[in-house]
């Protein structure tokens, strides 16, 4: 049975952001930006976070704002999100702002690290080192190794391998960097000219325990580089054993199989070369290593004097290269027709994180078949991501144009509804308002008189209407008898004095009781007036809201429409240029692949003829 609990709390909903944010989340709007960022929706995350931080600094007392609890994290997140959204300029500015702000030492050091990482990613190693040099004092524990790892990479980029070696040696015990620090140390030693140490180090890196895919991949890379090094040093057996450690299903498998075959050939072991090359030749023929294996495999057979088998395999290679040339030509035609860019922005592919790989599986997308290698390059990826970002922005801008039209419709409907009604309502309100003001003044006057009566009692002011009437009548009778001096008149005056005395006695006797009751009535009146005030305020707010629902939007909508239109125009120009750049790079890559395929095909044709000759000669010799 489920239990649902209701906690009535006046405070903000207290949420914990779990391990990702590290602290208890106190601001729902900041949590919302994280929700978008965790789904890689960085545009939405940035849009909300910019607004949230802007509001935070605009309030009179930011320290009372819920975001105050996360402000450092939020400032960092802006830079992070911008970095993920490939807005390096703004990311750099955001992080510099943190760096130059009044923040604690660990926060400043983290900002310096992030700034250094941006510079490094932007291929600015001097600036990266400068940012790293600003790190001093207390460093967040979680970043200690990462900072040093980045420093080593920066040294390598600055061609200071000896410094990189020093740093990387200290990182060899770091668990999260295991594999990466080991591999980079091997490369740093190699770049420093310590080839023997480099081989030893890469051997260690190639035997690292790999708890995840990334570490497995770097271990494979270590073994591939080591195998290549040993191969170039003519240590073919050792090269072979390093290459054998590369996983058959990893990203470096094709290269490793190819080189393993060549290592065997170099040690004159053609039979052994057949194993990796046969495996490789059976793989997807779009890969460059597989294509090389298609002619390398029959070459090994020919060296073993199995010319018949070699001829068959060369024949297969010629045929395969022909088919592949056909695919490359189709790809080039398709790209020239603009199909490449259309394929790249297909929504169903981009839903998945490995969408680049999946492009190849699209049966109707020949334009992407040969571009997987190209897509793995950093520059192409940046250009491609920019193109995709522009496409997303284009869709947003087009949708916003419709939204603006809808807003204008909404405003028109509201205006048509309110404009005929509001004058009559305002008129009625003015009349009611005048009555309310009059009654308020009366209440104020009564309150003041009652206040004065506390200092100077005035019983006659609390007389009932009968008593007032009786008092008036006595006064009139006294005035009527004023001029008469008859004994009867004297008697009547005495009776009137008695009556006035009785009236006054009654007023005096009931004065306190009446004063109390009048105060009670005034309190009741005050409560009624407070209620009236609330209704009055509610009406005024509703009346204002009615006007605000359709008045004053023209300028901002017109301004937005212009900005959206201008942005769309600029964006389309940029998309065309970015798209053209992608197409050009893709076509250049395909040209290279085409030339290579043609060269392989020619090579295979000659070898095919040669194999047939040799097979025929061998057959003739056998027949003799």
């Amino acid at each position: 049975m489920s239990v649902l609990r209701f906690v009535a709390s006046a405070a903000a909903a207290l949420l914990s952001a779990g391990s990702s944010t590290g602290t208890e989340l106190r601001d729902l709007h900041f949590g919302e930006t994280l929700y978008h960022a965790y789904q890689a929706h960085y545009f939405e995350a940035l849009e909300r976070l910019d607004a949230e931080i802007g509001q935070h600094y605009a309030v009179d007392e930011p320290e009372l704002d819920a975001l105050q609890h996360h402000i450092d994290h939020a400032e960092f997140s802006v830079g992070d999100f911008e970095l993920h959204y490939r807005m390096h300029h703004r990311a750099g500015r955001a992080i510099k702002a943190v760096l130059e702000g009044d923040v604690d030492e660990p926060v400043r050091n983290e900002a310096a690290f992030r700034l250094a990482r941006i510079h490094f990613q932007k291929d600015q190693p001097e600036a990266a080192l400068h940012a790293l040099d600003r790190i001093r004092g207390r460093i967040p524990e979680k970043l200690r190794d990462e900072i040093e790892f980045l420093r080593a990479n920066v040294y390598l980029a600055l061609d200071r391998p000896a410094d990189a070696v020093d740093v990387l040696r200290r990182l060899q015990g770091s668990q999260p960097l295991a594999g990466f620090a080991a591999y980079n140390l091997g490369i740093a030693l190699l770049r420093n000219g310590d080839e023997l140490d480099a081989i030893e180090q890469l051997d260690r890196a190639g035997r690292t325990d790999a708890p995840d895919d990334a570490t497995e991949a770097i271990r494979d890379k270590s073994n591939l580089v080591l195998g290549t090094l040993l191969f170039e040093s003519s240590e073919f057996d050792s090269a072979q054993s390093s290459l054998d450690r590369v996983r058959l299903d990893g990203p470096f498998s094709n290269q490793a199989l190819l080189r393993a075959g060549w290592a065997n050939v170099s040690s004159q072991d053609f039979e052994r070369a057949l194993v990796p090359w046969s495996l490789l030749a059976a793989r997807a023929p779009t890969n460059a290593a597989v294509q090389e294996a298609l002619i390398a495999l029959p070459y090994a057979y020919s060296q073993l004097d199995v010319h018949g088998r070699a001829a068959v395999l060369y024949g297969h290679a010629v045929e395969t290269f022909g088919q592949e040339l056909g695919k490359v030509d189709a790809s080039m035609r398709s790209i020239r027709d603009g199909e490449f860019l259309t394929a790249l922005v297909r929504e169903e592919i981009r839903q998945n994180t490995d969408w680049v790989i999946r492009l190849r599986d699209l049966p109707e997308a020949p334009e992407t078949l040969y571009l997987i290698d190209l897509m793995a390059s950093h520059d192409f990826q940046t250009a491609l991501q920019n193109y995709l970002d522009l496409e997303d922005l284009r869709k947003k801008l087009v949708a916003w144009q419709s939204s603006l039209a809808a807003f204008e419709d909404l405003i028109r409907v509201r205006r048509d509804y309110y404009e005929p009604r509001l004058p009559e309502i305002d008129d009625q309100f003015r009349r009611i308002d005048a009555r309310i003001r009059l009654r308020m003044q009366q209440r104020e006057s009564i309150a003041m008189r009652l206040e004065n009566m506390l200092i100077a009692p005035r019983p006659e002011l609390l007389a009932t209407s009968d008593e007032q009437h009786a008092g008036l009548r006595i006064e009139q009778l006294e005035e009527a008898l004023a001029s008469s001096e008859s004994p009867v008149a004297d008697g009547l005056r005495a009776r009137l004095r008695r009556l006035r005395g009785v009236l006054r006695f009654g007023l005096e006797m009931r004065y306190h009781e009446r004063l109390t009751r009048t105060h009670e009535h005034l309190r009741d009146l005050t409560a009624d007036i407070e209620q009236l005030d609330a209704r009055y305020d509610a009406f005024v707010r509703t009346r204002q809201a009615a006007s605000h629902s359709y008045v004053g939007y023209e300028d901002s909508i017109a301004g937005l429409r212009t900005r959206v239109g201008e942005a769309l125009e600029r964006l389309q120009t940029l998309m065309a240029r970015q798209g053209h750049l992608l197409e050009t790079v893709a076509l250049e890559e395909l040209e290279v692949r085409r030339d290579r395929l043609e060269a392989y095909q020619n090579q295979a044709r000659f070898a095919l003829a040669d194999s047939y000759d040799r097979a025929a000669k061998a057959q003739a010799a056998q027949a003799r």
């Binding site: 049975m1 489920s2 239990v3 649902l4 609990r5 709390s9 006046a10 405070a11 903000a12 909903a13 949420l15 914990s16 952001a17 391990s19 944010t21 989340l25 949590g31 919302e32 994280l34 929700y35 978008h36 960022a37 965790y38 789904q39 545009f43 849009e47 910019d50 607004a51 959204y85 490939r86 807005m87 390096h88 300029h89 703004r90 940046t382 920019n386 970002d389 922005l393 947003k396 916003w400 939204s403 807003f407 909404l410 405003i411 509610a538 707010r541 809201a545 629902s549 939007y553 909508i557 937005l560 900005r563 959206v564 942005a567 600029r570 964006l571 940029l574 240029r577 970015q578 750049l581």
Partner: protein, 145 residues
């Protein structure tokens, strides 16, 4: 001359600015503060239950229904907070009903509905729901702001 990449960054910045202004306009036009109510959802820390769907009613009217994708659930688990609904209600007392369905840590299905009262004043109303699994059952807490 600025590089293509720099121009792309610049236009991203411009479009973000437009988005912010559009959001302000939308809020002013569609959800004025005196009637605005927003409902947010989060999972309690370290929560592993699988949320399949959520349905929200205000004063008996269904206002939001959401079916969760893997990415959305993952974002909630990492500490993200989902804005489930933004709408309008008049000032005064109101009634919020929340229905959730999914799987508990044990793998068994759960389905729960709970109702809460809340008051809307002049300021925008923000309601935060937190979903958690407690003692083998799903629980929802509602915080106010």
């Amino acid at each position: 001359m600025r590089s293509l990449d720099e121009q792309v960054q610049e236009i991203k910045s411009d479009v973000l600015g437009i988005a912010a202004e559009l959001t302000r306009l939308e809020e002013k036009l569609l959800y004025p503060s005196n009637t605005q109510v927003a409902v947010f959802l989060s999972l309690s820390p370290e929560e592993v239950l699988e949320l399949d769907s959520l349905r929200i009613e205000i004063d008996g009217e269904p206002v939001a229904h959401h079916i969760y994708s893997f990415k959305e659930l993952d974002a909630l688990r990492k500490g993200g907070v989902q804005r489930v609904y933004t709408g309008n209600v008049p000032s005064g007392d109101h009634h919020l009903s929340v229905s959730v369905a999914g799987k508990l840590r044990s793998g068994s299905d759960f389905q729960s509905t709970e109702s809460f009262g809340f008051r809307k004043d002049v300021e925008p109303r923000v309601l935060g729901l937190t979903l958690a699994e407690n003692a083998g059952a799903a629980s929802i807490e509602l915080g106010h702001r």
